[in-house]
């Protein structure tokens, strides 16, 4: 009988250990979220809301990189476009460009711009000093706003990258204005 009891307690011990393992893996699933964000931050894929520091301001005049600007709207009654579609820059130069955004609705709306880079690997070499994407933007009814982006391209940019696209997508921040009844937009 005692052998059976010993067996039972052995079984129970293993059960507890394996259950802890299962619970830990459930936690691990959620841990993947910050882990993924960390990887994206290190590789610069998703560097969203904070200004970068310049590590090396040496201008590399031997290379000329083409940078294209792109704008997307996600479910917002806004007009949004870059004021210049392409610039050619030397890595290390401080460049300021601007986007223009206009609220075509007759009520204030808040949006958040999310940057994205193509090719994705170039994101980590794109150092933004100032960007409208660092904060939420609230536009009054019919307001038109010019928003600058100041950036430096890190000279450590891999040699095989010659063209980079910086793309912003504006998303509506729900909740801020969602409580307001949505009337048919009159446009401009």
């Amino acid at each position: 009988m005692s052998i059976e009891n010993a067996q039972r307690s052995e079984n129970r011990k293993l059960l507890v250990r394996l259950s802890i393992g299962a619970v830990a893996m459930f936690g691990f699933g959620f841990l993947l979220v910050p882990f993924y964000e960390k990887i994206c931050e290190v590789t610069g894929i998703n560097n969203l809301l904070k200004a970068d520091e310049v590590v090396n301001t040496q201008v590399d005049t031997s290379r000329l990189i083409t940078i294209e600007f792109d704008a997307n709207i996600h479910d917002l009654p806004w007009r949004f476009h870059p004021l210049q579609s392409v610039v050619k820059v030397h890595p290390g130069e401080l460049i300021t460009i601007a986007y223009e955004v206009e609220n075509t609705r007759d009520k204030p709306i808040t949006g958040q711009a999310v940057p994205s880079y193509g090719p994705a690997v170039s994101g980590q070499f794109f150092r933004k000093m100032d960007c409208f994407c660092f904060t939420q933007q609230t536009l009054e009814a019919g307001e038109r706003r010019t928003m600058p982006v100041a950036f430096v391209l890190d000279p450590a940019l891999p040699d095989d990258v010659h063209t980079i696209t910086l793309s912003y997508t504006f998303f509506e921040i729900a909740g801020k204005n969602a409580s307001l009844p949505v009337s048919g937009g009159s446009g401009t």
């Binding site: 393992g21 691990f28 958040q112 994705a120 509506e172």
Partner: protein, 525 residues
């Protein structure tokens, strides 16, 4: 897969009778039977969905179902077959056979065993019932990618809860299996003397414990994104839809091996029996299984080559994926070496096993071709992929399940399955399987995307052929019901050692296996 628990041994069985007996049973054989029956019912329901899909695709244009319902069908076919049919079927085999194979009287936690089974019908009702809620079942694909899955209606929430419940059931089942194998082996049965089926299930159970919770986490995040304003996968709130794919496939790729490793185990039991020769390279089989399991954790992003990951990422996941071909190859070589210079006979279980090796390996080759990242850019999300995973899941897992069912039916029912009907079942399945899925390779190469209800005209011939094959395959499975019913009702009496050269403890108990076996642990030499 069959209600086969012997009734004439009732004198050994004290407890409620009738329905209550099945609801309250803690006997591993009863529970195994229920698992098998449940999975066969789910297999038929998933099959009906598949046939509806094939009927719609019989010719171009919309004839049978609307696109929205078509998407629900493809999604539910995937979920039902993976979580309802294949996985519970293997757990059923584990319940029935593991204690018999290692000389244990029952599973380690008999009551928990009952629970892990009875959660399944609850989940199945939720899943299938979601067809009837407003908006219908989820139509986001079985992979449930956001943001599409966030758009879905109530059916999606039901599917998420069903996945949670099935996940809990799988984890409890897996824990039970690990504890049973590690703690309850008969004296003398060291780990390296265990039948290979036990080894593959031990490793599978660890995989289940490791990845089912991750899936539960992923679908929970979708749930909170849908209803509680989080934005794990929503770019507007700083999330990323691709993150879900990483988490999902971190579960999803080991899941693929969860569905195939026990199949390897079954085939490794059957081939030595009918070749009348011990399994070649037992130790290397164990190591190969373990290395497949380990590698399965570092290949997940090969499902995501088209998402646009950096070149380094593509290279890493391509190399890692190709590496899996090595242990898989070792397994196939070992099986063939087992057959080599044996004295083979081809009863139904052996036919299914040889068929398994042949057709599964074809699926392995297409897998290798898909592993080559640049080629996969062309093949991703086309019918080529559909062909590939049906070759490994139908010809792989399902054929092995049938092989195992024919092999152990004598032990379950006490009667030999009818060889003629069994062979008919095999040959019909084999022929129609290939008629259904082989043309899909060509469809995918020529550019037909998956998950579409309607297609361009150049794909018409092969689709018509595939549909004919699918109906043939579906109908062939009804033959199996005939075999099982005949086998339960009567037939040639099975000896304790039902197959001439079968080896293992399960063949030392009478056929059918009495309600209680190995109350006193046998000594294994």
């Amino acid at each position: 897969m069959a209600a086969v628990t012997p009734d004439h041994l009732h004198d050994h069985h004290h407890g409620p009778s009738g329905l209550m007996r099945w609801i309250t049973t803690t006997n591993h054989k009863d529970i195994g039977t229920m698992y098998l029956l449940f999975s066969f019912i789910m297999f038929l329901s998933g099959g009906v969905m598949a046939l509806t899909i094939r009927a719609e695709l019989f010719q171009p244009g919309l004839q049978v179902v609307e696109p929205e319902f078509f998407n629900q069908l493809t999604t539910m076919h995937g979920l039902v077959m993976v979580f309802g049919a294949i996985m519970p079927a293997f757990v059923g085999f584990a319940n029935w056979m593991l204690p018999l194979m290692i000389g244990a009287s029952d599973m380690a936690f008999a009551r928990m065993n009952n629970w892990s089974f009875w959660l399944l019908p609850v989940a199945a009702v939720m899943l299938i019932g979601s067809f009837f809620v407003p908006g219908g079942a989820t139509a986001a694909g079985w992979t449930l990618y956001p943001p599409l899955s966030v758009q879905m209606g109530m059916g999606m929430d039901l599917a998420i809860f069903a996945v949670h419940i099935m996940g809990i059931s799988s984890i409890m089942g897996a824990i039970n299996i690990v504890v049973t194998i590690l703690n309850m082996r008969a004296p003398g049965m060291t780990l390296m003397k265990m039948p290979l089926f036990c080894w593959t299930w031990l490793i599978t159970a660890y995989l289940l414990i490791a990845v089912m919770p991750v899936l539960a986490g992923a679908v929970t995040m979708i749930l909170t994104d849908r209803h509680f304003g989080t934005s794990f996968f929503n770019a507007a709130g700083g999330g990323d839809p691709v993150l879900f794919q990483h988490i999902f496939w971190f579960f999803g790729h080991p899941e693929v091996y969860i569905m195939i490793l026990p199949a390897f185990g079954i085939v490794s039991q059957i081939i030595p029996t009918f070749a009348r020769k011990p399994l070649f390279g037992y130790a290397s089989m164990v190591y190969a299984t373990a290395s497949i399991a380990v590698l399965s954790f570092v290949v997940w992003a090969h499902h995501m080559f088209a998402t646009g990951m950096p070149a380094q990422g593509q290279l890493f996941f391509m190399y890692a994926t190709m590496l899996i071909a090595v242990p898989t190859g070792v397994k196939v070589f070992n099986w063939i070496a087992t057959m080599w210079r044996g004295s083979m006979t081809f009863e139904t279980p052996m036919l299914w096993s040889v068929g398994f090796i042949f057709v599964f390996t074809l699926g392995g080759f297409t897998g290798l071709i898909c592993a080559i990242a640049p080629v996969d850019i062309q093949l991703h999300d086309t019918y080529y992929v559909v062909a590939h995973f049906h070759y490994v899941l139908v010809a792989g897992s399902l054929f092995a399940l049938f092989a195992g069912a024919y092999y152990w039916l004598p032990k379950w029912t006490g009667h030999m399955p009818n060889e003629t009907i069994g062979k008919l079942h095999f040959w019909c399945s084999m022929v129609f399987f290939n008629i259904t899925f082989f043309p899909m390779h060509f469809l995918g190469l020529a550019g037909m995307p998956r998950r579409i209800p309607d297609y361009a005209l150049q794909f018409a011939d092969f689709n018509a052929l595939a549909t004919v094959g699918a109906f043939g395959f579906g109908l062939s499975q009804l033959i199996f019901i005939v075999v099982v019913v005949k086998c339960v009702r009567g037939g040639e009496k099975a000896a304790a050692r039902s197959w001439e050269d079968a080896d293992g403890l399960e063949w030392t108990v009478p056929s059918p296996a009495p309600h209680h076996t190995f109350e006193v642990a046998p000594v294994f030499k």
